[in-house]
Assembly symmetry: D2
Homo-oligomer: 293 residues x 4
Amino acid sequence: MTKDNWKRWGADDERGALNHIGPDQVKRAASLVTSGEVLTLAQSLSPRTPVPAHRHGIQHFMGRDGGDYAAGARRPGGFQFAEDTVVLPLHIGTHIDALCHAWYDDQLFNGFPQSATRSTSGAAHCGIDKMGPIVSRGILLDIVRLQGSLPADGAAITLDDLHRAAQVAGVKPEKGDIVLIRTGWQERIKPGVSFNEEPGINLEAGLWLAESEVAIVGADNFAVEQLPFPEGTVFPVHQRLIRDFGIPLLEGLVLRPLADALAQAGRGAFLFAAAPLPVVGGTGSPIAPIAVL
Amino acid sequence: MTKDNWKRWGADDERGALNHIGPDQVKRAASLVTSGEVLTLAQSLSPRTPVPAHRHGIQHFMGRDGGDYAAGARRPGGFQFAEDTVVLPLHIGTHIDALCHAWYDDQLFNGFPQSATRSTSGAAHCGIDKMGPIVSRGILLDIVRLQGSLPADGAAITLDDLHRAAQVAGVKPEKGDIVLIRTGWQERIKPGVSFNEEPGINLEAGLWLAESEVAIVGADNFAVEQLPFPEGTVFPVHQRLIRDFGIPLLEGLVLRPLADALAQAGRGAFLFAAAPLPVVGGTGSPIAPIAVL
Amino acid sequence: MTKDNWKRWGADDERGALNHIGPDQVKRAASLVTSGEVLTLAQSLSPRTPVPAHRHGIQHFMGRDGGDYAAGARRPGGFQFAEDTVVLPLHIGTHIDALCHAWYDDQLFNGFPQSATRSTSGAAHCGIDKMGPIVSRGILLDIVRLQGSLPADGAAITLDDLHRAAQVAGVKPEKGDIVLIRTGWQERIKPGVSFNEEPGINLEAGLWLAESEVAIVGADNFAVEQLPFPEGTVFPVHQRLIRDFGIPLLEGLVLRPLADALAQAGRGAFLFAAAPLPVVGGTGSPIAPIAVL
Amino acid sequence: MTKDNWKRWGADDERGALNHIGPDQVKRAASLVTSGEVLTLAQSLSPRTPVPAHRHGIQHFMGRDGGDYAAGARRPGGFQFAEDTVVLPLHIGTHIDALCHAWYDDQLFNGFPQSATRSTSGAAHCGIDKMGPIVSRGILLDIVRLQGSLPADGAAITLDDLHRAAQVAGVKPEKGDIVLIRTGWQERIKPGVSFNEEPGINLEAGLWLAESEVAIVGADNFAVEQLPFPEGTVFPVHQRLIRDFGIPLLEGLVLRPLADALAQAGRGAFLFAAAPLPVVGGTGSPIAPIAVL
């Protein structure tokens, strides 16, 4: 166990806790596939995808569509096609935070200076392009199931909650795991929802996962952690997990179908596979994680 | 075997050949994981990602970065962060074509009318949001290895080439497979490359794959198929495979590392996992496919 | 007087009522400059510029800024610079509608077919690029001043209102005039304002202006015309003025400073000058009109 | 005469040399209107508008168009419309540089710190939103006419050239003037043109204009000044005119029609009117300046 992963994988390392995933973790994950059921954990992306008030939503523009042919567009050799472009904020919907996304004291994970993250080039260090594909064991800690109800906005999900949810699921966070926490927030939000309040893990719970050497912590809420923050703190879980431990956070997951499938199968672990868009210097990426049972 | 998959999975089906992938295909894919090696098959995405002359490249904008803190931005509770937005054409870099991307005679796959693909809402049918996650057996047909050299621009990769490449790899395209074809194009292109010429499969080769009931056909070139087209045709493989068989095409793959790893391991098949961004009504998506050996 | 300007300036004409402005109108406008006072009639443009719920606002991205230099960016020869990009809806803030913006019965002004307005190329006819610079006499019809209060949402500004406001101002709409109508809406809206209700001219008032051969009708509201529409109609003023008379509408003007300056000077007319961004095939343009007294 | 305009109009001034334009300059400009001829000085804006290799071009997206109606879109009350959005770099085509666009020694015009120009908010000082409308006397210094041929790339336009061109035009740069310099570059460039070479004014010529108290210096090239720069310097005219004198530069003008009209009329001065898009914190704006003869 360690409290701090700087230099753990060398002075040049930009992948942090993803280094906990080695061939053994991958093979173990593959061995979990027994039913062949495949689930997506992603929200769909559209101009209606909810965003906090201070952020823009998605814009989706058709560069060519069926209407153009209805209006008489040429079709050389019979060929017709449609194409499109999105204006896509990288932290929208179901998305993963790169290690350059959050920091304090002017230094990113592993001591990289913030000054290498600029308008002109994005993040020279710890960008989403450094993350690579993620294949490992996923486990679900289902707080909704544990509590028998949807946690309220502002509620802290504590270390004890995680312990008990793990026990219910029959799993234990281990090295290289992708730990997903179901808070129920995503299942109950409505258009215009405030992104300033949500149930989420507190710092103690987050540090326990970090010290368990998990690779990624994810949740079905906006910020993984409890909002509003404990007094006197701002995004404490982001600060410690991303910047000190090099743990990417996976946010906005859709977890209810997975929860139902796991409960029905009487299991808590599955094969998790996902890969962010490798945007050079990007601070995160929308992502569509896959669970295979 | 069938020549045409319309109505094969019902009048409402929008997933086409992906229906060939069932639990058995998924389980077989998982069983292929023996070394735990994980590879990405994706190009990185940046303003330098090559695009055809008639398309725009990516724009990447930082909404907040390290420079802003260097210039004095507030850091409440010590928290600092960076975020960004991309203007992202959906057919750029390594990407997958949705079934609404290409058609002829005013009808998409399964008979959906082109008129449901509009500026205002994108594709109401066969959009990339209907595709879902993809987990199946991947096989690599390595034409570069087969020929011992990089195929020339304009060269047709024929049915015989595919047969022989499959033989070399010790595999055979089967129901639900993800078939990846290495033409070497991606490995040799330079900035400013023309997207009007490339080696690629001809229609006969494509139809053989379709009739073998594969789920997806991919390649490391721009359009899977041979460019320029055979005289009198325009994107014949797109027309037949996407629109008639419901087979998504996966383009711009990075296949050399996979080719090397498979050759070294003396194998031709692997676990393939990928999920497009579920853009509602989108005609395709950049994607970062994963191969696990 | 005429009810309908199709073919009035030839079968190829794409400028409509702007043809009413000839050298005499320009010279008369210049002769109105007596005090040399210059006013803008434009809202500022930013992510806070109000937009209807169904439209996106502006996004403003810095490609290079002072923060980048604070973070250590190179300054060859001492030179430092900042640059930026906007994602800009063309009907936002203070903007002008091109003649291709609104129509009925599948035909634009002067009989051009709607089918020439496509995703791939914008409007082949009557685009904002056909409008050119606008210099003519401006007159202000100040309904707020006339009524001594701010007209309510939904109120119709009638022909009689325009007559009386013109009388108060000591002006009369004439050939080639730019007629600006102050409803007070822009002065009182707050963030989150509904764009479904506003005071504005009714069709009779609009037709009188059209038949007076004015070149442009503008207002300080969102759509020039009364919202909600009279029962059974949808944008009747847009339909008739833009499509039948070829009169561009100028929307979202800031008119209070002009109203105050004119009232103080005891005059009703001024030099109006403005030029849209000549976006090829664009349906409108943000614009910053100038009034000179 | 002055070499440096910092603090000349107060410590808070953000408009620089535009302060040279007062009511007298405006009235004089209006008095120049004799024929009523109106000309635009702007390039059209489209994806084909030339840009330097390091910058993106325009993207133009139709949000709704005639094709959508051809494909069956509803038309409530008969109303049909088209709308669109552009991704618009603010220094493209014919555009004006805000005073925040260029600087040295970490300070903008009038001593404002570069640190107030950030990703999050654009330029807090000297942004394009501070510029306001511009109405003054325009004069054309026609180097093409003077030399009887198109100046070569890299050629310096010198103080002597400006003197002689002014003499030919029968004008003299005076306080508040908009001085436009025709180099012929815009008239001869072709798609793919390098933006690294062009004829333009040298620093001595620029300083003479600055000391003549002109309000704006414009040209029909990309950067007003000579490219490549004199050895050991980088954008010396930008550095001195924008940052020290507060003179906005107006670039990419279309000047041949104006040159022809002025030559035919035997005059050198005209009414100039233009207004940038008031993008809050923007570093410049595409602009469509108007000349009235």
